[in-house]
Amino acid sequence: MSTTRSRIAIGQTTRMAVVVMAMAMLLAACGGTAVSPTSSVYDSCVKEKLAVKTAGKLTLSTDNPAYSPWFQGGNEGATVWVGDYNNDPAKGQGYEGAVAYAVAAKLGFTADEVVWIQSAFDQSFAPGAKDFDLFLNQVSIKPARAEAIDFSSGYYDVAQGVVTIEGSPIAGATSIADLKTAKLGAQIGTTSLDAITSVIKPDTEPAVFNTNDEAVAALEGGIIDGIVTDVPTAFYMRDAQLTGGIIVGQLPSASGTQEQFGIVMEKGSPLTACVSSAVEALKADGTLAALLTEWIADKASAPVLK
């Protein structure tokens, strides 16, 4: 991961200062891996030394609404993440909510020192300074995207799934070939759309919606035959959003490389190396696996379509 990251940093930036800064961070990260993580990951990643947006606080961000199983626990008392099915990320529940607080703890921030702000998906990669330190919103790591922002190490291995409803032409589909004639939909900005065009390659152009909610409305209205989304969201749609929802199955990965969700930080963020180390440490000590069992459990995978 470190080597990939440094190649990207050096390849993309022309300003010497940024390169030097990135190198320094990488050196710090490499030095840090030898030290066994205690309350914080390593010496230079302690709370006091981290260049966070608000001193003494870790400002986290996600989009609104925040859906299960990524964020859970409801929104009682929340002023921003309001409405049915929405979840206040400050509850620290759901897989991303829990990972966010686990990363914060690794960096030495208590739950009280974590502040949540809302950012739209597009705001997370708009040019310039960001209001947040870390943005967690099921963002898939891609090299082209890493030119605009920094990614942490991946904290979730993504698989794409197909969900439909009773009565749809693909309700009984058992293979990728069965999906060829389907009108499929996906949310914009997701790698689910890539999965449709590169794995399923359907005869009809996929429909692309601004949000998953609109894709669900289109599925219910018969405008599309099925939705491609990450597998836990597919289960959520089946269980909470659709009447008569059916999981058709899971898609094999497109390129052979495992797609991962990463934490987004502003380009050249001084936190990137520390946050990546924190994620790696959480992976190594089994925390991520435990959180996965706790919040996503058996909803992380479905039978793979061939």
């Binding site: 597009d122 995207r145 152009e205 919606f209 609109e214 409305a217 018969g222 405008i223």
Partner: protein
């Protein structure tokens, strides 16, 4: 001689002041320390050239949509305008309907209408009712722009002096004939520039179809933007829209100037 000289002097002053303003704007934007970041995010040459074929291809859907919509809006808007101009008490329901229609569809945001029609109506699953997003986008644009266009027509009709109709009636024309042969020909000529103005708005609003999942130019740009976290494809779309709308605006200007000349100078 002096007139020609002062015209030349005027052109020179215009050129110099335009260049001066442009230079100041360019320098102040370029001097921003964040300009390289913004330039990379919004004006990246590579992303521009790679997005151009995709966005231009998707723009065909916008073209289809606005051509079909314009063909439908022109007669529908006129019918509504005429319904609103009815004075006969027996036909009052028609006039009231036309008034409510224009009030409603000019008053609600287009985006709401497209949501309700595009997602709501197909969900009723009524037999024989189309569920195609393109169809419902077309219906939305026709409903909304017919309301605008009908008001343009009505303003044109009302701008014709009442003496014109009275004179026509005095010559023995019926009320309908007076409208058809005296009032409308004059009114329609006057409303051409504002009509074209509304159509420019319509062309831009074809991007609304993207809400229903249709991959037209704007949605295609958004897909590319989100895939690479770079906003340049949106600029590509802007350019494609401008290529269509700027000639339209120039045409509107020219027609307006011609009409003014005809009204004031009498020379046809």
């Amino acid at each position: 001689m002096t007139a020609a000289r002062s015209a030349r002097k005027g052109t020179l002053v215009a050129v110099v002041s335009t260049l001066a303003v442009a230079t100041v704007v360019a320098l102040s934007i370029g001097s921003s320390p964040s300009w390289p970041l913004v330039q990379k995010a919004f004006f990246d040459g590579t992303y521009f050239s790679t997005s151009l074929p995709d966005v231009a291809g998707a723009f065909f859907i916008n073209v289809q949509l606005f051509v079909l919509a314009e063909i439908l809006i022109l007669p529908l808007g006129l019918l509504i305008a005429l319904a609103r101009s009815i004075t006969s008490p027996a036909l009052a329901p028609l006039r009231i309907f036309a008034t409510v229609y224009t009030d409603f569809f000019r008053g609600v945001p287009s985006i709401l209408v497209i949501y309700v029609l595009g997602f709501g109506v197909p969900a009723l699953r009524l037999p024989g009712v189309p569920k195609e997003p393109f169809f419902w986008a077309l219906v939305t644009l026709v409903l909304i722009y017919s309301a605008y266009v009908s008001e343009v027509y009505r303003a044109g009709i009302e701008s014709i002096h009442p003496s014109q109709e009275r004179a026509a009636r005095a010559l023995g024309l019926t009320r309908f004939q007076a409208l058809r042969f005296v009032v409308l020909p004059q009114a329609l000529r006057r409303v051409v520039p504002p009509l074209l103005n509304d159509f420019i708005g319509l062309q831009k609003d074809t991007a609304l179809v993207s809400i229903l999942g249709v991959v037209e130019a704007f949605k295609q740009a958004q897909i590319l933007k989100s895939a690479n976290f770079n906003f340049t494809p949106l600029m590509t779309t802007a350019l494609i829209f401008l290529v269509i709308t700027i000639p339209m605006t120039r045409l509107v200007d020219r027609l307006a100037a011609k009409d003014r000349a005809a009204q004031q100078g009498g020379a046809r």
